[in-house]
Amino acid sequence: MAGMVERRGVGRWMTHLGLIVGLLFIFFPIWLAFVASTVTQPEIVKPPMPLLPGDQFFENYRRALISGVNAPVGWMMLNSLVMAMGIAVGKIVISLLSAFAIVYFKFPGRRLFFWLIFMTLMLPVEVRIVPTYEVAANFGMLNSYSGLIFPLIASATATFLFRQFFMTVPDELTEAARVDGAGPMRFFWDILLPMSRTNVAALFVILFIYGWNQYLWPLLITTDPSMNTIVMGIKQMFPSGDDTADWPVIMATSILAMIPPVIVVISMQKLFIRGLVDSEK
């Protein structure tokens, strides 16, 4: 039964109208970028640019992917993919292992260790950029995938999330496993991990987007254009000084930069929302 407070008739249309106005505001920047990625440079630099797509779609995207401005955008996307996957998988693996240790073992230093992880919440990379950069440079990690991935891999959020979940796993399962003679790693692998599937997937969605969208860290770590990630590479495509930017290629790159995370979010919407809510607890 429909509630009596939902609007019908005129009111319902007003509600839709309000939402559509909001959607237009939100999508206009994306639409404009898409249009710009399908027209020629002269059409853009002589304002106003058209508001409907042109016929240069294939030409612009081919130019961006294969040659780009400083480096082929195809390369930059590959770098972003490696970085995002590395960060997501790495965070999940080390967090699963440490959460398992903290919940299922009593070992000396457990409490201290827990607080050490907690404190990393207070140390975002933006706050400690210069010294962290120095560490990475000393390890020879500049312009490398390990430099893009490892400094961002520790995650208090993921560790807490798994700890929270492991706490809800019934003790009977652990007892049964022990009675059957299964060791801790066997229990972890055969019982705990399969049970954590949904949590892992939800977290993966969030962390993949986190990794893909990194900006400041790749900006510091990669000076070689062939190691640039796509999100940080866009700004590098703007010429310094008074030269005119290659807008169609830059806007095609902006669209390409948002496609993978958008696909991940939309196609795994339920998991994404779950991950979002979980990781804020």
Binding site: V5, M119, M122
Partner: protein, 293 residues
């Protein structure tokens, strides 16, 4: 809270926590320690020796007009980003909540901006408001308004605020919508039977019941505006014109990497550390009340 059943062993659990421990020590605690250490020194111009200055860097910073201005800029920026993105999100969530059918479609569409990196959002908004080719700039010009965020500090601030708030709408929308849908229909319907109009119901029932969500989002959005908007600032204004959009995080980057003023940059890092610490504690105190373990 503890498990009743535990596994035995000391070396295995230590081995399991080792990867996390190593990464945390090398990339979190050591650099943070370095920041604190360096904040007490001034390196000589050749980088050969360090001169102990105690709290000199901090005294200098707090007495520096640019740094104090950056604090004010950050405060204004964070408050505006938070208000704009939460305001728009609440408006959309209230509307979506009124629909019986179809709110799922709107939700799917509204999630989009979450996936767009702040730096990419910056490029999109920069393109619209570009002083030479921007479409919005052109139409504003037709209306007789001369938009130029490269010269006008207030317009620059407006632009970075809108670009930062834009990407945040999805997140706030999802939390507001979930909060609204958790309010029992019967309460609202009872008020409606008593003759309360929409606005009265919103003010007296919905808004108070939504306050935990609102407070949570307030803290999270301020953290976002402080630390995650670097990409927006860097792509659109690079802190200009005349530092009008230089927020604290941008200043650490600029003084440390562009200006090579390591002592000052380290001291700024330490001040930011204190700010994150306070925000984290606020967040946790609140969340502990909200979530029942």
């Amino acid at each position: 809270m503890e498990k009743r059943v535990n596994f035995k062993g000391i070396w295995l659990p230590l081995l399991l926590v080792l990867p996390q421990l190593v990464v945390t020590a090398v990339f979190f605690f050591y650099p943070a320690g370095q920041a604190i250490y360096q904040s007490l020194f001034i390196p000589d111009p050749f980088g050969l020796s360090m001169q102990w200055v105690g709290l000199g860097n901090f005294e200098y910073l707090l007495g520096n007009a640019y740094y104090r201005a950056s604090f004010v800029t950050t405060a204004i920026f964070s408050i505006l980003v938070t208000l704009v993105s939460m305001g728009v999100a609440l408006y959309l969530a209230v509307l979506a909540d009124r629909l019986i059918k179809g709110s799922g479609v709107y939700r799917t569409l509204l999630i989009w901006p979450y996936a767009v990196a702040p730096a990419v959002a910056g490029v999109l908004w920069l393109f619209m408001f570009n002083t030479r080719v921007g479409v919005v700039t052109w139409y504003l010009g037709q209306l007789g308004y001369d938009w130029n965020h490269v010269l006008n500090g207030e317009e620059a601030m407006g632009l970075v605020v809108v670009a930062s708030a834009w990407g945040r709408i999805s997140y706030n929308f999802l939390f507001f919508l979930a909060g609204l849908q958790a309010i029992p229909r019967s309460v609202i319907e009872a008020a409606a039977i008593d003759g309360a109009k929409f606005w009265t119901r919103f003010r007296t029932i919905v808004w108070p019941l939504l306050s935990p969500v609102t407070f949570f989002l307030l803290v999270v959005n301020i953290v976002y505006a402080f630390f995650e908007t670097f990409g927006v600032i860097h792509t659109i204004t690079s802190g200009g014109p005349q530092q009008t959009t230089t927020i604290l995080v941008y200043k650490v980057f600029k003084d440390g990497f562009v200006g090579q003023d390591l002592g000052s940059s380290a001291a700024q890092s330490v001040i930011l550390l204190v700010i994150v610490g306070i925000l984290t504690i606020v967040q946790f105190k609140f969340i502990e009340r909200r979530v029942h373990y």
